[in-house]
Every structure is written in structure tokens, then in C-alpha cells.
């Protein structure tokens, strides 16, 4: 078909390419009797070999991307496909009962799956899932259908999916995945955040891309306007190609600022830093001239797996980030789970108001073993770079003191073990709850820094759930109430000779940047691709003039007035 679909502009830029559909194929099998047993056995082994080749490819990819430890799981998968007991049983069923290969395989696999599920060892029970996975791959080969796998893409495509899990987006290879579009998701969903950090154009929340687009359709993803164009005519393609080249040229020009500092017209240096989710993202930070990492979200270490990450796994991840960043500051946020983010293995109760519930620091102070493991890993990693630790969702001074106390305790325990850690770790908090912004002057006496998390600060200040579309209009970053709260935080920090940063969406927004500069913000942390643009903008502004601008803005009544005023004054 030809046509347009409207969605949410999740990540800017234009991508043009062939659609790659991520849809689970129908693997229903029917039990039939067959003619030639010999032919069926051959067919079975051909499918097994094809599945093996595919697994080898995935294994190789996983080894490069995730390390040999994680790739080892595919070794076990490969061995299952060489297993004489399994293969022998399938062959037996084909020969003795004249069963078709797929039914024989399913029946054999089910026997093993049941056997594994009955073992009294949880680890072994989980291996049943591996057998299921491997069986599915061979059955797909026998039925001649494809199981789409992001790790196997080796040509330029645009991914079309129901939704993309963090593990999917982590597998995306930028060389081949030129863009993506999904049925579900919003601007702040994980896939959207990942798309921005990978600098891949994305349109999410289209509701129907998977139903409308066919594999191989030529599609255009316009990540600036939130549009997906299906099988467009030559004129439209040309127009978008021109737009893409223009964006490319603009990007090249910005790259000239890569190794420059961020300094205003009147000589004030501020720091432009990046928000990251995994050690892999550091490459993008350095490519885009980041002066530091203002937010390292550690949740991804805990998500998409069956158990808590060990201290060693965490230590390796933190160390990797710190080492790559050298002397540049890295602010690591401790576990921020709960709310809209869940861990399947933690079994947290469903809540009526998850955003107002048992999450982040609240959960960590309760589940101290989890928290202490992370703190130990962080402390050990501190020897490898410029680490700063930040606690999320702090609502009261007591919470901060307790968290800091636990950190101190773990530090002493490490000392007793003969492990010495950096003595210059700054300890700060995320300011996302209005109570903390209001008492910022008291917090400023005890913290080393603040980082304003605007996504949550706005939703809590406006009492509007940011996941609820009906109240999305109340997500107003330029609202004078928000600006005044941010002012309180920055002023309090400066009065106590501390620094204040921002790691929420607002820090990279071209309307907000002049206002924040005027308020005296010291560090702007955003998605990596936004950094150079922000640097260019800040380099052209004078802080003294922005002070006057924001003073006027603070007296205004509505978000819209502030926005119009900034736009008109600065001609943007």
C-alpha cells in the first residue's frame, strides 16, 4: 500500500529504506503421516544444520557485542542441536511411527522440557526455556518461516515492530538499522530514549505499522515530524533524500565543535554532558564531544534478565565507563527501579500509583542487600576514574543521610578487606520531588551537588502522570512554577558553593537552554546526539543577557507565554 502513518517523533532525522518486520511467525504444527521416511530424516537434518549456521552467526555477534561469557549460552544451544539423544529420538519417531519431522521434534523436545521442569534446581528448570528456544528455531526452518532476529540483519533496513525491548535495541547495529518505527511507546519510553542515544531516527506509537507495512516495502521514517511514509513516489523520495543530506551537512558542521569547550559570549564555562544507559553508549558520548556523563542510568544492568547482577558484573560495567571517560566526571545514579520499571525476579506488588510508590531510593533503603552490593561495586570502580554517586527520588533529608551512611559503612568494610577506594567521590542527589527543591537550601549543606530530573519533577509538580495521554498537556517544562523551583535549587547550590546540573529532557531543549543558562545552571546533561547542538547554542548566548531574560520569564503566568517570549526575544 501507499500512504502515511502518524506517530510520535521519538528520535530526529530521516531514514529511508526497506522495511524489516519483527513479527513472531506462526509456528503451529500439525501431526501428519509421511511417505518417504528417508526424505523426512534428510529434511530434518537439513533444518538442524540451517539452525546451527544461524546460531553460529548469532553466537559470533554476541561474542563481539556482549563478551564470551554471555555468548557461552549459545554454545549450549549448539550442543543441543548435536545431541545424540535428541536427534536419535527424533529420527526414531520418524522411522518407527512415520511421523513428520516437526511433530517428531516437538514431541521429543516436550519430553526433555518436562524432564527439566521437574528437576528440583531452579537453574536447571530454566534450561527448559533453552530447549524450547532451540526447538522453535528448527521448527521454523522445517516450516520454512523466518524468526526475525535483529542480530542477523546484514543489510540496510528500517525495523518495524510492535515494540522494542531494551535488549532488542541493544542489539541494533547502527550500520544496518537505519531507523525504526513501532506500534507502541511514547517519547520517554525506553526504545525512544535508546533511539536518541543511538542517533537512529524513530517514530513510535503509530498503533498500526506492523499491520500496514509489508516486509520489503520502501518506507521513510521522519523522526522530526513523527511520520512514516509507505511506498512513496519518486518525488517524495527525492525530497526526503535532500532533507537527509542537509541534516548530514549540518551534523558535519557541528562536529567542528567536538573538541571545543562550552563557553558563553561573556566567558562563562558550563559543562555539556550526556545521559547514558550502558557502557556501549560511551562511544557516542565521546564521538559527540561530551565533557562528562551527567547521568548513568544503572537500571539496564538489572533489566532483561532472570536474577540480580552480581557485584562483579556491576563493577566491570562501572569500571568500563569510568576508564573510557578518563578524567571526565561520570555521575552514576543508583538503582532507580519501581514506578514504570519492573524487575520480573523481584516480585514487587502491583501498586495503585506506581509513580508515587515503592521505588528508587525508597526500595533501596528497604532492600539493603541489593543496594549495598551496588554501592560496593561503585566504590571499587571509583579507583578507575572520576566517579560521582547520585541517589534518585530523594524526598527527605533522612533518606539522603541514611543512603550516605550505608555508603560510608560499605567503604569502611572495603577498607577492612584491604581495598582502598577514591577519597574524592562527590555524593549528590537527583531533585525530582518538589519537597526537595523547596528545602534545597538545607540539602545544599549536606550534598556535594544537585541534578534536576525534570521528567519527574514536572509530573510531581503538576500532579500529572506523564504516562497518561489525557493529562500530557500538563507536562509543561517552561511553566513559571517549574522555573521557580529550578531557580531555588540552583541558588541554594551556589550559596553553599556546590554545583547544580540537570539530567532531565529539558537540559537539551533549545527553548529551555537560554532560561537555564540565565538561572546559572552549571551542567547540562542530555542525550549524546543533542550535545553539539546545545554547545553551539550556548556558545552564542551571553549569560548576563539570559539572566535578564529569565527574570522576566519568572514573572509570567503561563508556559505558553514563556515559550513565546523566549522564541521572539532570541528569534528561534
Amino acid at each position: 500500500m501507499i500512504g502515511n502513518l502518524k506517530g510520535i517523533a521519538a528520535s530526529g532525522g530521516v531514514a529511508i529504506g526497506k522495511a524489516f518486520l519483527m513479527i513472531e511467525p506462526d509456528l503451529t504444527i500439525t501431526k501428519t503421516t509421511i511417505g518417504s521416511k528417508e526424505a523426512e530424516v534428510t529434511k530434518f537434518y537439513e533444518a538442524v544444520n540451517a539452525a546451527k549456521l544461524e546460531l553460529e552467526k548469532i553466537r559470533k555477534r554476541a561474542e563481539i557485542d556482549l563478551g564470551s561469557e554471555n555468548a557461552a549460552i549459545f554454545d549450549a544451544h549448539l550442543l543441543v542441536l548435536s545431541d545424540p539423544e535428541l536427534l536419535g529420538a527424533v529420527e526414531g519417531k520418524i522411522n518407527d511411527k512415520a511421523m513428520n519431522a516437526e511433530a517428531a521434534l516437538q514431541e521429543t523436545a516436550d519430553t526433555f522440557i518436562i524432564m527439566f521442569e521437574q528437576l528440583d534446581n531452579e537453574y536447571m528448570r530454566e534450561r527448559a526455556a533453552d530447549i524450547r528456544d532451540v526447538t522453535k528455531r528448527v521448527i521454523a526452518k522445517l516450516l520454512n518461516v523466518e524468526i526475525p532476529n535483529l542480530g542477523l540483519i546484514d543489510e540496510e533496513v528500517i525495523i518495524v515492530a510492535e515494540d522494542l525491548a531494551p535488549s532488542d535495541t541493544a542489539q541494533l547495529n547502527r550500520a544496518f538499522a537505519k531507523g525504526f518505527t513501532t506500534n507502541m511507546g511514547g517519547r520517554t519510553s525506553h526504545s525512544a530514549i535508546m533511539a536518541r542515544s543511538l542517533e537512529i531516527p524513530a517514530v513510535v506509537g503509530t498503533k498500526s505499522v506492523t499491520a500496514t507495512i509489508k516486509p520489503g516495502d520502501l518506507i521513510i521514517v521522519d523522526g522530526d515530524n513523527g511520520e512514516v511514509i509507505i511506498n512513496p513516489d519518486a518525488d517524495v523520495i527525492e525530497r526526503y533524500k535532500a532533507k537527509r543530506s542537509e541534516q548530514e551537512a549540518e551534523k558535519q558542521a557541528l562536529l567542528l565543535l567536538k573538541n571545543k569547550q562550552t563557553i558563553t559570549q561573556d566567558g562563562i564555562h558550563v559543562e555539556v554532558a550526556a545521559n547514558i544507559g550502558t557502557p556501549k553508549d560511551v562511544a557516542g558520548v565521546l564521538e559527540n564531544g561530551g565533557e562528562g556523563i551527567g547521568l548513568y542510568r544503572t537500571e539496564f544492568l538489572y533489566m532483561e534478565r532472570d536474577s540480580l547482577p552480581t557485584e562483579e558484573e556491576q563493577f566491570q560495567a562501572y569500571k568500563q565507563v569510568l576508564e573510557q571517560m578518563g578524567d571526565k566526571p561520570v555521575v552514576v545514579r543508583t538503582l532507580d527501579i519501581g514506578g514504570d520499571k519492573h524487575l520480573p525476579y523481584l516480585d514487587l506488588p502491583e501498586e495503585m500509583n506506581p509513580f508515587l510508590g515503592f521505588r528508587a531510593i525508597r526500595l533501596c533503603l528497604e532492600e539493603q542487600t541489593i543496594f549495598r552490593t551496588q554501592l560496593r561495586a561503585l566504590l571499587r570502580a571509583s579507583n578507575f576514574g572520576n566517579l560521582k554517586i547520585m541517589f534518585p527520588m530523594i524526598a527527605t533529608l533522612e533518606e539522603f543521610r541514611e543512603a550516605k551512611g550505608l555508603l560510608q559503612e560499605e567503604k569502611e568494610l572495603l577498607h577492612q578487606e584491604g581495598i582502598f577506594v577514591s577519597e574524592d567521590i562527590e555524593i549528590g542527589i537527583m531533585v525530582e520531588i518538589p519537597s526537595t527543591a523547596v528545602l534545597a537550601d538545607q540539602f545544599a549543606q549536606e550534598v556535594d551537588f544537585f541534578s534536576v530530573g525534570t521528567n519527574d519533577l514536572i509530573q510531581y509538580t503538576m500532579a500529572a502522570d506523564r504516562m497518561n495521554e489525557s493529562v500530557a498537556h500538563l507536562y509543561q517544562p517552561y511553566h513559571p512554577a517549574i522555573l521557580r523551583l529550578i531557580k531555588m535549587v540552583i541558588d541554594a547550590a551556589h550559596a553553599h558553593k556546590k554545583w547544580a546540573g540537570m539530567c532531565g529532557e529539558m537540559a537539551g531543549d533549545s527553548i529551555a537552554i537560554p532560561l537555564l543558562l540565565g538561572l546559572g545552571l552549571d551542567e547540562f546533561s542530555m542525550s549524546a546526539p543533542s550535545m553539539l547542538k546545545a554547545r553551539k547554542q550556548i556558545n552564542q548566548l551571553s549569560q548576563a543577557k539570559m539572566k535578564q531574560l529569565v527574570e522576566t520569564a519568572l514573572t509570567m503566568q503561563t508556559s505558553e507565554q514563556v515559550k513565546q517570549y523566549v522564541k521572539e526575544t532570541l528569534k528561534i
Binding site: A72, A76, E85, F116, D120, M124, R127
Partner: protein, 89 residues
């Protein structure tokens, strides 16, 4: 027939990774090689067989082989299990 009995000392027993190692080694030999645990005997060239034993720490296991290269086979598996810290001689 070559036959040996060992005690598993590894805290996590014989999981997927060591099981893969054992099967890869066993598959190099022509002899039939078996592992026995709690009166259950499995083919050591079968990853599903080895894993289905669910061998944990403290288990007493026997390995035996029959064929032209039975001695070498048992020795190779034994030295692998030792180097991986799964058994102690």
C-alpha cells in the same frame, strides 16, 4: 572398561558451561562414555543427558567408557573436570 568415581566440589555443581565442556570433549572419542549419578546413567555425548542429571555440590558421580580409546577418554574428561575446579582428585 575404564571406570572412575569422583566427588563434585564446585559450589554450583555441573551447570551449562561445564556440561558443554564435558560433552565437547566426550564427542572427540569413539568409545561410548557414560556418567552415572543416583543410579541414573546418561550418555556423556548428550548435553541434555548431562544437564538432566542436575548434579549439585557434594554429588558422587561415576564416569565409565567402553571402546578402543576408553582410557584416554576418561582421563581427558577427568583432567577437564579438575582444571575447572569441579572435582578434586
Amino acid at each position: 572398561m575404564a571406570n572412575h568415581t569422583y566427588t563434585v566440589i564446585a559450589e554450583s555443581g555441573i551447570h551449562a558451561r561445564p556440561a558443554s565442556g564435558i560433552v565437547q570433549i566426550a564427542s572427540k572419542y569413539v568409545s561410548d562414555i557414560f556418567m552415572e549419578y543416583k543410579e541414573k546413567k546418561v550418555n556423556l555425548k548428550s548435553i541434555l543427558g548431562v544437564m538432566s542429571l542436575g548434579i549439585g555440590q557434594g554429588a558422587s558421580i561415576s564416569i565409565f567408557a567402553e571402546g578402543t580409546d576408553q582410557q584416554e577418554a576418561v582421563e581427558a574428561i577427568e583432567s577437564y573436570l579438575k582444571s575447572e575446579g569441579i572435582i578434586e582428585l
